[in-house]
């Protein structure tokens, strides 16, 4: 329950406070969000599999975000930031789809 409340609180805060994103972070924010989404869906699947662990989730969440941002940063330094961020989005998207497929099988048995 509390995690869901945290999610709702975060969305509401983001909508109400309307802070600005620092310019250097702007290219990384969307990637970080997608990476975090991957971690969340992975956690949900693990939970439904009965193997969820707080520590694992926290570590996977943070590492996902950091690694995704690092990859994009490295790509920017190498001059292939656009392509690399597309690649990261594709990979994370595939993972999210597979996680969601597993969740769907758990919830709907289909």
């Amino acid at each position: 329950m509390i995690p869901v409340l945290g999610l709702v609180a975060g969305v509401v805060a983001g909508l109400l406070l309307q802070p600005t994103v620092p310019v250097p972070l702007q290219p990384y924010l969307p990637i970080a969000v997608v990476a975090a989404l991957d971690a969340v869906f992975g956690a949900l699947r693990a939970y439904l599999d009965g193997i969820f662990d707080d520590k694992v989730f926290v570590i996977s969440f943070v590492s996902n975000v950091v690694i995704a941002a690092l990859i994009v940063y490295l790509g920017d330094q190498l001059g292939v930031g656009g392509q690399l961020s597309t690649g990261v989005i594709v990979v994370l998207g595939i993972r999210i789809f597979s996680n969601v497929a597993a969740i769907r099988r758990h919830v709907f048995h289909a």
Binding site: I2, V11, G14
Partner: protein, 240 residues
């Protein structure tokens, strides 16, 4: 199999808070915050603030290319404009030249009045002894001295086609009778024209020998108002 899992999902929503759960909640909150923020930034600020450097450079390059194309077009149009202006100027110059030439020719042809310095020569001929030959000689002397426009008695303009004749003892110029005293208006250098009249054996001597007298008056502004008939050549055509 499915039953315990459904229960576990329900229990997840109702389970007691723990530090781990709180940490998960914080992370999810951060995720929601970031997602909402990103969505809002995308909506509010358009494409450019969030765009990467490479994309912006590409965009800038395409704008530069478009700019260069537009500038090239401007240059071409300016060149065309200059060419058109040049040709217009050339046409105007030619027109001006033609007008000047036309006015020169009009003075020579005697179709327009002329004004300038010159001499007024008065020939008194009480015995009517001045012949067409004498008058022609006088005109030739004046032409030799550079007379540019000549009229006689304010009625006969002397031009290239002018002829002198005597009919019934009266001098005629271009078929029109002219009676003494004859007054010749000649536009040209006044001093030179006076000399042309007065040199020994010239018009003055000739007329005095015939019993007449000649007076020459120099003037700075002489109007030659008599006009010659405008003639279009009937037979002569410009040779190629």
């Amino acid at each position: 199999m499915p039953e315990p899992k459904r229960r576990s999902l329900r229990s997840a929503l109702t389970s007691r808070p723990a530090w781990g759960q709180a940490l998960v909640a914080v992370l999810l909150g951060a995720l929601g915050f970031a997602a909402a923020l990103q969505v809002r930034v995308n909506d509010a600020e358009g494409v450019y603030p969030g765009a990467r450097r490479g994309d912006l450079i590409e965009l800038l390059d395409s704008l530069d290319a478009a700019n260069a194309r537009a500038e090239k077009q401007i240059n071409e149009l300016e060149t065309t404009k200059r060419e058109l202006q040049t040709s217009t100027t050339a046409t105007q110059t030619a027109l001006l030249e033609a007008r000047r030439e036309a006015s020169t020719l009009a003075i020579l042809a005697g179709t327009v009045p002329a004004r300038g310095p010159g001499v007024v020569i008065r020939i008194d001929d009480p015995e009517a002894a001045v012949s067409a030959v004498t008058m022609l000689n006088a005109i030739e002397e004046l032409r030799d001295a550079g007379a540019e426009a000549i009229e006689i008695n304010n009625s006969a303009r002397v031009v290239a086609q002018t002829y002198f004749a005597v009919s019934d003892g009266t001098l005629t110029i271009d078929g029109a009778e002219v009676r003494p005293p004859y007054v010749i208006d000649a536009v040209g250098s006044a001093a030179t024209l006076s000399v042309a009249v007065g040199f020994p054996g010239g018009l003055q001597d000739e007329v005095q020998a015939l019993g007449g007298s000649v007076t020459v008056e120099q003037t700075d502004a002489l109007d030659v108002t008599a006009l010659a008939e405008e003639r279009t050549p009937e037979y002569a055509q410009p040779a190629p």
